[in-house]
C-alpha cells in the first residue's frame, strides 16, 4: 500500500516537470550574433541565428546586404539539461564577407518557429579597409599586429596627483597596470614613463591586489615613482609604456569553426567568450607579446618665484631642521662636529648642507651627508649633515646654520635657522680680536704639545719649520721590511741553525741508541752466564771461562767511563771497578788465573769436577760484584 502511494507521488512529480518543460518549449525565441562586430575588408565574420524551442524553425534562406556577401554554411543542434530543465536549440550559421569598408547594418531577419514569426535583432558590423584604419574606436579582433582584445585583457594608467607644480618639485606618481588573471602575464619590459622635460626616479613596485573593473576582475600591480620637472611650461607626462607576454586564444585567419558564444547576447565582445577560456584544454592558447600603453597626463609647471634666500639650494617641499654640536668644550683648533638633520618631504637630492651664516673665526671643513628615506621613492626622510668646524679663537656659541626651501603649498620661501648652541673654547684670543691674519708667524717647536698651546695665548702656528741640511748617507726604502730580499736572506741564519741542531740531535739519538743496545746485550749475556753457573753441571773449563766472562761483562757494565770492551777487562780492572777488598781481590785474581789455566793448559791438569764449595765461593764472589 505504501509502495503504490510512493509510485503515484513520483508519477505526479514527473508529469508536472514534463508539463512545465513542454510549456517552456512551447515559447520559441530567436537571437542572432556576429562573431565579431569589427572586421577588415576580405575578412570573414560568422553570423549565428539561434532558435530555441521547437525544432521546425525556418530560417531565412538568403540575406542580401549591399557590400556584404552572406552565405549559409550549416546547421547545428544542441540539447541541454540544466537544473532538471531541458532545452533544445538550433543554430543556423552564415559567413559574412565584407566587400568594402564602412558601417553595415544587418536588419532584423524573419524566422518562423512553432507557428510563430520571430525577428532577429538588428546587427552592426564595422568594416575597416585592409590597411588597418578601423572605422571604430575599439581594436579589432584577429589582426596579427594587435592581439586579441588586448585592451580588455590589460590596462595601464598613470596617476599624477597634481596638475600644477613648480620646477624641481618632486611629484609622487603611481602607475597601475591591470591584467586579467587568465592571461597569466609575464612582464618583459617594465613600465616606463615617456615624455620630455622632467626627470623620473627609479620605479619601485609598491604592491599587488585584485580589483573588479567594469564587471571584470583584474590583478593590479602598482608602481610608485616620483617625477620632477626640469623647466617651466606645460607638459604631457606619459604615456606609460610597457611590454608583456600574455596567453591569448590562438588567432585564426580563416573563419572560425565555432562562432561567438551565442550567450554573448549584448555584443560585449568579451574575449573570454572564446572557447579557449571556458575550456583551455579544448584549444591551445598562444603566448604573445603585447604593448601596454596608458593615456598621458597634462601637467603645468610654474617657475620658482624670484628673490630666493642665499641659503636656498633648490630644496622644494616641507622640511624641519634640528642641530647639535659635539664636543661642547674644546681647545682652539680642535674640531667640533655640528650635526644638522633635515627631515620632511621633498626633493632631498637638492637638499644641501645648511649654510654657516658667520664663518669668521672658524675653519669649516666640507660636510658629509647621509640620507635615510622613509618611503619607497625617497620623497620623505631625514638627511643628516656632519660639518666639522674648528674655532680659531675663543667662541661661546656654534655659528648659526641656515637652511632655506620653497614650500609649494604656501608658495613662498621658508628659511630655517638653528638655535645658538653654547660651547666652551679655551686657549685662544678673544672672539673680537682676530689675530690670526695679523700676527706674525712664529716657528713652533716640533715637540710643542697641546697643553703648551693652551697656556700660551698665541694663535695656531702658521709657518713651517726650518730646512734640514743633514743628508743621511743611507738611502731608505718605502717597501715594508718583509718584502725585501735581505729580510728573507737573514731568515736563512736561524734556518741553518735549526737544521744543524736537528741533525746534531738526530745523530746523538742514534749514538745513544747504539750504546743502549750494547748495554742491553751485555746485561743479557751476564744473566745467561749467571744462569749457567747456577746449574752446577758445567765442566771446570767451561765453568771458569763463563765465571771470568761474567766478571768481565759486569765490569764493562759498571764502568763509569762506558764503552769499555769486556774482553779488555782483567782482574785488577774488575777489582778497581768494584772497589773490592783484599780478600775479594785475591779471590778474583784466582778466578781469572784458574780460568786462564783451564783455558790454555787443558783439562788434564786439574780435577774433572769442581767442588761445591768452590762453586759457592765463585758464585758469592760474582753476585757480590755490584
Amino acid at each position: 500500500m505504501e509502495t503504490s502511494m510512493r509510485c503515484r507521488i513520483l508519477f505526479v512529480a514527473v508529469a508536472a516537470v514534463a508539463v512545465a518543460q513542454f510549456a517552456r518549449a512551447d515559447s520559441p525565441s530567436v537571437t542572432a550574433v556576429l562573431s565579431n562586430s569589427e572586421a577588415v575588408v576580405g575578412e570573414t565574420v560568422e553570423l549565428q541565428i539561434k532558435v530555441t524551442g521547437p525544432g521546425d524553425a525556418r530560417p531565412p534562406e538568403e540575406i542580401t546586404i549591399d557590400g556584404l556577401e552572406i552565405h549559409a554554411t550549416g546547421t547545428s543542434r544542441q540539447f541541454e539539461i540544466h537544473n532538471f530543465m531541458t532545452s533544445s536549440s538550433v543554430t543556423y550559421n552564415y559567413t559574412v564577407l565584407p566587400l568594402r569598408a564602412g558601417r553595415f547594418t544587418i536588419p532584423p531577419q524573419t524566422v518562423r518557429a512553432g507557428g510563430k514569426v520571430l525577428r532577429t535583432p538588428e546587427l552592426i558590423l564595422n568594416v575597416a579597409d585592409s590597411s588597418g584604419s578601423s572605422s571604430g574606436a575599439r581594436p579589432s579582433r584577429g589582426r596579427q599586429s594587435q592581439p586579441v582584445s588586448a585592451r580588455d585583457l590589460i590596462f595601464a594608467e598613470l596617476i599624477v596627483p597634481k596638475k600644477v607644480a613648480y620646477v624641481g618639485e618632486i611629484i609622487p606618481v603611481q602607475i597601475r597596470m591591470g591584467f586579467d588573471p587568465r592571461v597569466r602575464p609575464r612582464l618583459i619590459e617594465p613600465p616606463e614613463i615617456t615624455g620630455q622635460g622632467f626627470t623620473a626616479q627609479k620605479l619601485q613596485e609598491a604592491g599587488q591586489n585584485s580589483e573588479a573593473l567594469n564587471g571584470r576582475s583584474y590583478d593590479v600591480v602598482t608602481y610608485k615613482t616620483a617625477i620632477a620637472a626640469a623647466h617651466a611650461g606645460k607638459f604631457e607626462i606619459g604615456p606609460v609604456r610597457a611590454k608583456a607576454q600574455v596567453i591569448v586564444p590562438r588567432t585564426r585567419s580563416a573563419p572560425r569553426s565555432r562562432g561567438r558564444s551565442p550567450f554573448d547576447l549584448f555584443d560585449q565582445d568579451d574575449p573570454f567568450s572564446d572557447p579557449f577560456f571556458s575550456n583551455p584544454f579544448a584549444q591551445i592558447g598562444e603566448r604573445r607579446e603585447v604593448d601596454i600603453k596608458s593615456d598621458p597626463v597634462a601637467l603645468e609647471v610654474k617657475p620658482l618665484p624670484p628673490n630666493a634666500p642665499p641659503s636656498f639650494s633648490g630644496a622644494i617641499g616641507n622640511f624641519t631642521m634640528t642641530t647639535d654640536a659635539n664636543p661642547k668644550s674644546v681647545q682652539v683648533g680642535d674640531p667640533i662636529t655640528v650635526t644638522s638633520a633635515i627631515s620632511g618631504r621633498g626633493n632631498f637630492d637638492r637638499v644641501n648642507a645648511p649654510v654657516v651664516e658667520d664663518e669668521r673665526g672658524w675653519h669649516k671643513y666640507p660636510p658629509s651627508s647621509k640620507f635615510k628615506q622613509d618611503d619607497e621613492v625617497g620623497l620623505s626622510g631625514t638627511k643628516t649633515f656632519e660639518t666639522v668646524l674648528s674655532p680659531n679663537e675663543k667662541k661661546e656659541t656654534v655659528p648659526v646654520l641656515a637652511f632655506s626651501y620653497f614650500d609649494p603649498a604656501k608658495e613662498q620661501y621658508v628659511s630655517l635657522r638653528s638655535d645658538p648652541i653654547a660651547i666652551t673654547v679655551q686657549g685662544g684670543p678673544a672672539a673680537t680680536q682676530n689675530l690670526v691674519a695679523s700676527q706674525p708667524a712664529s716657528p713652533p717647536s716640533a715637540t710643542a704639545n697641546r697643553g703648551a698651546s693652551a697656556i700660551q695665548p698665541t694663535v695656531k702656528p702658521r709657518d713651517i719649520l726650518y730646512q734640514l741640511t743633514d743628508q743621511p748617507r743611507a738611502t731608505e726604502s718605502f717597501a715594508p721590511i718583509f718584502t725585501r730580499p735581505v729580510f728573507w736572506g737573514i731568515q736563512s741564519i736561524p734556518l741553518l741553525a735549526l737544521i744543524s741542531f736537528a741533525v746534531w740531535k738526530i745523530r746523538r739519538a742514534r749514538i745513544d741508541n747504539r750504546e743502549a743496545r750494547r748495554i742491553h746485550a751485555l746485561q743479557h749475556e751476564a744473566a745467561e752466564l749467571m744462569h749457567k753457573l747456577r746449574r752446577n753441571d758445567a765442566p771446570p773449563r767451561q765453568y771458569y771461562a763463563e765465571a771470568s766472562r761474567v766478571v768481565r761483562v759486569k765490569t764493562a757494565l759498571a764502568s763509569s767511563s762506558g764503552g769499555i770492551d769486556p774482553n779488555m777487562v782483567d782482574a785488577e780492572t774488575a777489582a778497581n771497578t768494584f772497589k773490592l777488598n783484599s780478600d775479594s781481590r785475591d779471590q778474583l785474581r784466582r778466578l781469572f788465573e784458574q780460568s786462564d789455566e783451564w783455558q790454555y793448559s787443558g783439562a788434564h791438569n786439574g780435577p774433572a769436577r769442581i767442588s761445591p764449595e768452590n762453586r759457592r765461593e765463585v758464585l758469592e764472589l760474582i753476585e757480590n760484584l755490584k
Binding site: R462, I464, P472, F478, F482
Partner: protein, 248 residues
Amino acid sequence: MKIRASLIVFLFCALSTLSVLAQADAEFVKANQEYAKGHFKEAISGFEALIRAGQWNANVFYDLGNAYFRTGDFGRAILNYERALALERHHPEATANLQIARDEAHALEMQPSWPERYLQLASVNHYSIAAATAFWLGIFTIVVLIFARRRSATRIAISICCLLVLAVAVCAIFTLERGSKGEALAIVTGRNVQARLATADTANSVLALPPGSEVKILSTRGDWIYAALPNNLRGWIPAKNAERVRLL
C-alpha cells in the same frame, strides 16, 4: 794576480760609490741653498732630481715638502711630508709641518679603524721583526720539545706564546698594510678635485677633496682611480690628481 785584480775592482767600485755620494751631497746642498735664497722652484727641481736618482731619505722628502709649501702647493707639500714620515715614523719636523700644511689646505684625513688605532703603536717593520723572531723562537722550542726525553711545561708555554705573538704580528701587518695608512694611501695633489660617482667629469660629485686630502686607492680604471675617501665614502677621482705616498 787574481787578488790584485779583485782589489782593483773593489777599489773602483768604492770610488764610484763615493763619487755618487759626493755628487748627491752636492746636489742636496745646492737645493738647500736655492731654498734659502727663496728660489723655491729651483730647490724643488734639485730635490726631485735627488729623488729620481734614488736618494730616498726622510730629510730630502721633508725639505721638498717645505719647498712645495712655500710655493703654495699644499697638496704636494703634504704628500712629501707623508713620504718623509713613511720612511721615518718619528720625524718631528715632518709631523709638525704636516699638521700646518693640513690646516692651511683644509685637507681631509682618513679615519683609521679601531684595530688600526691600537696597532699603530708600532710600524709594519717592527711587527715584521717581531713576527720573524717569534716564529723562529717558537720553531726552536717545538723542535727542542720533539727531541727532549721529557715534556717541559715551560717549553710548551713558550712555544704557545711565540705562536700567539706571531699570529698577532701577522694580523697587525695585514691590518696596517690594508688599512687607511697602508700601501694604498695616496694624497690628492690637484686643486678643486671632486670625487665622483662614475668615471666621468659630468658624474655626480661624492665629495670635494681639498689638496692634501688622504684617499685609499682601491682600483684603477684607465685615467681614473676608485678610492676610499674620508667620511667613509667612496668615489672616482682622476688618476692625475692623486699620488701614492709610497714610491716603488
